[in-house]
């Protein structure tokens, strides 16, 4: 899977904002962690396991927690059609 090219992450004035383009344009303010994860995967093809592995190493999570967080993140991305 890949992150949609129809979403662009912006940082301005201390805020991270994801602008999502589709039939209409939406803006979603996200936190630093989301932005960091998004930037890491923005140019990559990846699996859920890749996301879990990244979380484990970046945030010092145990494997089980990293898998749960990765599943939630992928779910959120899918819900907002951020994944292709």
């Amino acid at each position: 899977m890949k992150l949609s090219g129809h979403c662009r992450l912006h940082k301005s004035r201390g805020k991270h904002v994801l602008i999502m383009y589709g039939r209409s344009t939406h803006a979603l303010e996200v936190n630093e962690s989301f932005a960091h994860i998004w930037r890491h995967f923005s140019a990559l093809e990846f699996t859920e396991a890749d996301v879990a592995s990244f979380l484990e190493s970046t945030y010092n999570l145990d494997a089980a927690k990293a898998e749960r967080e990765a599943s939630q993140i992928i779910g959120l991305w899918q819900e907002h059609q951020m994944i292709i």
Partner: protein, 338 residues
């Protein structure tokens, strides 16, 4: 809080534009005014920036605004989306120009690129300068080599390339006589070309802030000889106009931002009115959008009427061009309609 007056909003817009143009924070004494600006005034500033096609400069300016200055999320997010649009267009146009240049060179043709993308290079963030068409000038022999046949009233040739309108100009300068003008290309030639481009539109349907920003950036970035440039303006008969233009730029971008050639600055109100009235190329003036969507004859009639209306301004600041622009438009339309 009551909505700010138009003059107030103009001052605030220009503060943002100055910050954007220099990619630097604005003067701190202006910040208290932004700190108490209601959402409606921020929306008005965004609307003004759109009319003047300088939203990219607001994107940059906002990045320098202290975080404790509240900006409505709707305005912030709208400007982020603008930045995406501008950047995508810039990279697409850059690619298109690269391909066109390679094609021209393969035929032994050397184009001189004008305006748009060339002006973008003057800015700290060129990808945020609004772009429209691709403009270039070809020497007469190159125009023939390319096999172009003039199709527009002004003698230029138009075609589409990768979704962009391309205008190939026969004349580098939008002016009636070309004797004693700078060698092309040169910094003085580029300044004069940008200068008379603004003049031409100020004398017809209107001009917006974008081209005035280009001018101040060009003055700042091009290594031009002021005496040669002054001589060019004199030879072109536009010294008085250039002093007006420089007075406007001096008022809003600081003394020394544009040459006055030893003359006193003048009241820039006549040019301010034109810019405020119609925005980008006068397109936002009442009735103009409707006219542009009509049949060609009605569209041209509207253009001509606006030229006539601008005649007092043109006669005052560039009398030699006052009739030139109107007559050349009529002559060109007769030629193309034959």
């Amino acid at each position: 809080m009551a909505r700010a007056s138009d003059d107030n909003l103009t001052a605030l817009l220009m503060a943002l534009v100055r910050s954007g143009i220099s990619d630097a924070p604005m003067s701190p004494e202006l910040l208290p005014r932004f700190a108490v600006l209601p959402d409606s005034d921020w929306q008005a500033l965004l609307s003004m920036a759109r009319r003047q096609t300088v939203t990219g400069l607001l994107v940059v300016a906002l990045e320098h605004l202290p975080e404790d200055i509240p900006v409505p999320p709707a305005v912030e997010f709208a400007l982020m989306a603008e930045a995406d649009r501008l950047e995508l267009n810039y990279f697409r146009m850059s690619e298109a120009v690269r391909e066109l240049e390679a094609d021209f060179h393969s035929k032994g043709i050397t184009p001189v690129w004008l305006k748009g993308l060339e002006c973008a290079r003057f800015y700290p963030r060129p990808e945020l300068r609004e772009l429209g068409d691709i403009d270039l000038w070809l020497r007469p022999r190159d125009f023939s080599t390319a096999g172009f046949v003039s199709s527009a009233p002004d003698g230029s040739y138009h075609f589409q390339f990768q979704g962009f309108d391309v205008d190939v100009h026969r004349d580098y300068y939008d002016i009636s006589h070309h004797e004693g003008l700078p060698k092309i290309p040169s910094p003085e030639a580029e300044l004069l070309m940008l200068n008379v481009h603004i003049l031409k539109h100020a004398c017809s349907t209107g001009i917006g802030l974008r081209q005035l920003c280009d001018m101040v950036q060009a003055y700042s970035r091009l290594p031009y000889d002021e005496e040669k440039y002054k001589a060019a303006c004199c030879n072109a008969g536009i010294l008085r106009w250039t002093v007006l233009l420089s007075s406007f730029l001096g008022k809003y971008f600081g003394d020394g931002s544009a040459p006055l050639f030893g003359q006193a600055s003048v009241n820039p109100a006549p040019l301010e009115r034109i810019i405020r009235r119609g925005g980008n190329f006068g397109h936002h003036e009442s009735g103009r959008q409707a006219a542009l969507s009509r049949k060609p004859l009605l569209r041209k009639a509207d253009t001509f009427w606006r030229m006539l209306r601008s005649l007092p301004f043109a006669l005052r600041y560039a009398p030699a061009e006052a009739l030139y622009y109107g007559l050349s438009l009529i002559r060109g339309n007769i030629k193309t309609n034959k």
